[in-house]
Symmetry: C2
Subunit: 313 residues, 2 copies
Amino acid sequence: MSNHFADRLIEAVKKKGNPICVGLDPRLEQIPSQIKEKALKSGGSPTKAAAEAVLEFNKGIIDVVADLVPVVKPQIAFYEIFGHDGIWAYQETLKYAKSKGLITIADAKRNDIGSTAEAYARAFLGEVELFEGDQEVVMPMFDADSLTVNAYLGWDGIKPFVEEGAKYGKGIFALVKTSNPSGADLQDLELKEGGRIYEVMGGLMDSWGDDHVGESGYSLVGAVVGATYPAQAAELRKIMPKSIFLVPGYGAQGGGAEGVKPCFNKDGLGAIVNSSRGIIFAYEKMEKFDEASYADAAREAVLEMKKDLGSVL
Amino acid sequence: MSNHFADRLIEAVKKKGNPICVGLDPRLEQIPSQIKEKALKSGGSPTKAAAEAVLEFNKGIIDVVADLVPVVKPQIAFYEIFGHDGIWAYQETLKYAKSKGLITIADAKRNDIGSTAEAYARAFLGEVELFEGDQEVVMPMFDADSLTVNAYLGWDGIKPFVEEGAKYGKGIFALVKTSNPSGADLQDLELKEGGRIYEVMGGLMDSWGDDHVGESGYSLVGAVVGATYPAQAAELRKIMPKSIFLVPGYGAQGGGAEGVKPCFNKDGLGAIVNSSRGIIFAYEKMEKFDEASYADAAREAVLEMKKDLGSVL
């Protein structure tokens, strides 16, 4: 089997029979109280207790979705908010998801240039070299399968991620057309040479992926394209046929199954659809579940989403 | 004294008599061997040893520059590369710099929307609420004075940072015109309505800062404008007169004192100039210093930079 990121992802989507990505955005205030109580009793600092609660919550979700979905996407802001303890929970979450056979997307939207971008790329996708000589240690750090990035800085800012991706069978998803209303502030402006900024960004991603296409026909350079703008998604699908789209905005942000349809190619592949709150905190919306059965609620929400997406794909 | 971020920063620049920002980018391979040896002997994991080495190195730099410069800017990639241990060193570095009276810029180029951007804003600039009721804890987390951000996502992605900034006397620096060659891939494209993308981005920052101008006349919404493009910096200075520019690219990236001059307003204020490697690893370039005297070399490099900038300002 190919170790190319896109091939691994497409294979996982086919195997699970759906393109669902579960967003692990564990807002502490929505985590069931019994998990928080237990974490608080373990005697660590408040941030360590928060990190432990987040990790236990995530493990509960991962356990019930691992056989159903191909991908999970922990959003790092909800971990970083607890400082280094939160980052510990982030690393452990990625590790646990991997141990359950899931493909991981580190949603961190990293961006910088030169050796700084290289440091991020090594940390998230590659390996890190520590110390020298007899004391040298080479180890993966976050060891995510892929990372979201922001390409405002141009090719310099993306190249290190593409290089690490090619070396380690990993991938990236660059922001192209985001799901939020004011994404249009910049992304929708028209250029003198024709087209809008998001279309130019899409074209750049397509060309940056040219040398990194797997057997599946997809490249390791993916794109973030919101479910809330289906017409624009359809245009982008033409501009960047070999990029896998990571599609946020389904569910909580108002994008439905019809909205995500244009993100897919005619082969029914080429996109993964993320849902965060709508799955992990489904227990808050579903009458038959309570806090203690949050994982069962998440599983049911995944099955509903699978059915919903299946109706249009 | 005003607690507004821009006022605090301008005051600090006046007090120290220079606009220098020392970039704390502690690449492990360039940290003096005696510091690494000591950290390795302390018995922690390799990542903990790396984090301890980074922190000790930074403290050595901070101790010798605190009386000379107004600002330090740790770049988070060089900490995140050691996982949660690195983030511990990042938090401790910010805390130590603050204890020495320095203004801090968390260089993390964060970007996201809605509650995700809020989580970043609270973590870096504001306060974090943990748990509820009797167990509630409200605490600052990174407690930086300011944060670099990327505004590709539009106002939704910037508003939470501006709001936390206004509440806590903190600020942001948004990427406008970056110092790297391929920044032009996107930033220099011409728009149908006139102007280039970086100019539009500059105009957005200027307007987003309108409601947040301090007594100094500067707003809490600053901009990253590279020293390597002086002509563009001059244009941007006109477009965004009340934004403080954070200017990378001086020294190692090839921008000299003449290049940074257009980043300043006629009052000689309105910009801070960053140097990272050129200061913290000055010992590698200066014959009269060795590893053990890396801090002395850094101090001399700051004094040289002060003189160089003074010749044009």
